[in-house]
């Protein structure tokens, strides 16, 4: 298949992104991730196939979904809207008919050229701000051929490329991507491998190996560390972050990302159990983390990112 016609599963394309890498960027969110972090703030990005979300609180009981659904997945009785997820075929007709935004289909297909047609529209802004294209997710490396083609296409047009990754892919894939990625936003989630497996579904060994591999190849990497109350806000993990700072002095920064529970309504709407109790980190909690991180040796720049 021609590269420009290669298609991938997307969640969204967000223009004017200010926080997904250097400068002003366009962020392409892909759908599907090999990890299943229990605190995931974009739970709609985990599955590789489209998903219908039902936001109960937004439903106005207008029953339009019921009239367009080909499988009878939406039923109404005594002012209550029931959605049978098993009957749903993710056709998205109800989401289109829903006037209140209570139903939303997450995930759509787009070709490399279709994505590039949007990306290239802000080329002047990228050039002026040292920005560019960021591929995020989900996990960009998981849609190997599509992401590779997209990054190559961007490069050919002189657009800076950034990938936001969990680092979990085959080593061969990571190396194949290497010449086409200008900047990595690399997640560091948990130092303790047993806990890493319990909370994300995979071991961190391969991830750490890839971090080392990229660093050895002089890749520009910014480490992003989500801190989730009660899960990884431990001296062990803070010391682990500090150890990486010492081991990799040429990182383009380490950024602490305190947990927020914005993903919870989406998880509920996707019928995905809220697997963690944690609430958005409070200021007091962040202050306590800051003290603990300082005690574990973390530098000022890490503390200031909190």
């Amino acid at each position: 298949m021609d590269t420009p016609q290669l298609s991938g599963w997307l969640l969204d394309i967000q223009r004017s992104s200010m926080h997904d890498g250097p400068g002003i960027r366009t962020t392409v969110f892909l759908k599907g991730c090999p990890l299943s972090c229990k605190w995931c703030h974009n739970p709609e990005s985990q599955k590789f196939s489209p998903q219908l979300a039902y936001f109960t609180e937004k439903c106005t009981l207008c029953r339009r979904c019921e009239s367009v659904c080909p499988t009878g997945a939406h039923t109404f009785s005594s002012q209550k809207h029931s959605f049978d997820r098993n009957a749903c075929i993710q056709c998205g007709k109800c989401a289109k008919a829903c006037p209140s935004g209570a139903l939303k289909l997450f995930g759509y297909q787009a070709t490399v050229e279709e994505v590039m047609a949007v990306v290239r529209k802000d080329k002047k802004y990228y050039d002026a701000s040292s920005g560019g294209l960021t591929v995020s997710g989900g996990e960009p490396f998981a849609q190997f051929s599509f992401t590779l083609a997209l990054l190559k296409a961007a490069r050919e047009e002189g657009i800076h490329t950034c990938v936001e990754t969990c680092g979990y892919a085959s080593t061969e894939q990571i190396l194949t991507f290497l010449p086409y990625v200008d900047y990595y936003l690399f997640d560091y989630k948990l130092t303790n491998d047993e806990l890493h497996q319990a909370y994300t579904g995979v071991s961190n060994q391969k991830i750490l190996y890839h971090l080392d591999l990229l660093y050895t190849h002089h890749a520009k990497i910014r480490l992003r560390c989500p801190i989730i109350p009660g899960i990884n806000d431990t001296p062990e993990h803070f010391a682990g972050i500090h150890a990486l700072e010492v081991r990799y002095p040429d990182l383009c920064g380490i950024e602490i990302m305190p947990y927020h529970d914005m993903g919870k309504p989406k998880a509920t709407a996707l019928c995905r159990a809220n697997e963690i109790e944690a609430a958005t980190a409070s200021q007091a909690q962040k202050d306590a983390w800051r003290r603990e991180m300082a005690r574990c040796g973390c530098s000022e720049s890490i503390l200031n990112s909190l």
């Binding site: 967000q14 992104s17 997904d20 609180e57 006037p99 002047k124 802004y125 947990y259 927020h260």
Partner: protein
């Protein structure tokens, strides 16, 4: 007395507006331009290209102010809107802009002026006139505000600031005597990311932008955004290291953001 300050008035012995001045120019303000172009875009797509709506259905719906025509109105609202860097809507807007400007310029002689140019500023008259204007085919309800000047219809630019700026520069500035381009930033964006904001605006001017009117929003505005989310689709807030559209956040999250200390 005022005429004394202008060339030719004394030698001709005539006051300013009675043939005294050599070149007399004037301007004409226009309103609802973008509602017109968005309406034309919607009609082209839905009536002619896709055939989803008939002319009669549209006429009926507009006459009824969309009462009982919710799905038809949804179709109109979902049609491409100026301000999102979408070719269909922006090309219509640019074409209407050029046609309207040329028409006004061409009327100079008829109105007895040497130059006659449109002005697209509106202040708040787009609202004043809007409340006595019927429903329009862009999905706008009767007796409600119209788009301000040549800016996107309020709340219809949903594709990020760069898209909005790209749309703005598609309307050629050489045809008119002045326009105001509204831009509203959150404090987090404007102050917190000042360098990026500066680059954004420099780039807009390099691309052909002529003017900007900047509003920076603070906490009272978030309360407004909660009460009227449809007016704030592009209000981006930072939540724990992530960016989010304020209006897409759940009620509780919005309250939480609202109650934070504002420095």
């Amino acid at each position: 007395m005022y005429s004394l300050l202008f060339d030719d008035c004394l030698s001709r012995g005539k006051p300013l507006f009675s043939g005294g001045i050599r070149y007399l120019g004037g301007t004409l303000e226009t309103y609802g331009n973008i509602n017109v172009s968005d309406s034309l875009t919607a009609i082209k797509q839905l009536v002619y290209d896709e055939g989803k709506i008939s002319v009669e259905e549209l006429q009926h719906a507009l006459a009824q102010n969309f009462s009982g025509c919710d799905s038809l109105r949804s179709l109109l609202l979902e049609a491409p809107k100026y301000g999102n860097d979408l070719d269909s809507a922006d090309e219509t807007a640019a074409r209407f802009h050029n046609d309207l400007c040329s028409m006004i310029r061409g009327m100079a002689e008829r109105v007895g002026l040497h130059s006659y140019l449109p002005v697209l500023i509106n202040n708040s008259m787009n609202t004043t006139f809007g409340v006595t204007t019927g429903a329009s085919a862009d999905g706008r309800l009767a007796n409600t505000y119209m788009a301000n000047a040549n800016n996107p219809m309020s709340g219809m630019d949903k594709n990020g600031i760069t898209s909005m700026l790209n749309s703005l520069v598609k309307l050629d500035t050489k045809h008119h005597a002045g326009a105001v381009q509204n831009m509203r930033f959150s404090k987090e964006m404007f102050a917190g990311l000042f360098e990026k904001t500066k680059t954004l605006l420099s780039c807009y001017f390099e691309n052909g932008g002529a003017q900007t009117m900047i509003t920076v929003l603070g906490r009272g505005d978030l309360e407004e955004a909660m009460a009227h989310p449809e007016l704030y689709p592009n209000l981006i807030v930072r939540v724990g290291g992530f960016s989010a559209r304020f209006v897409e956040l759940s009620h509780d999250v919005q309250l939480e953001l609202l109650n934070r200390t504002l420095y």
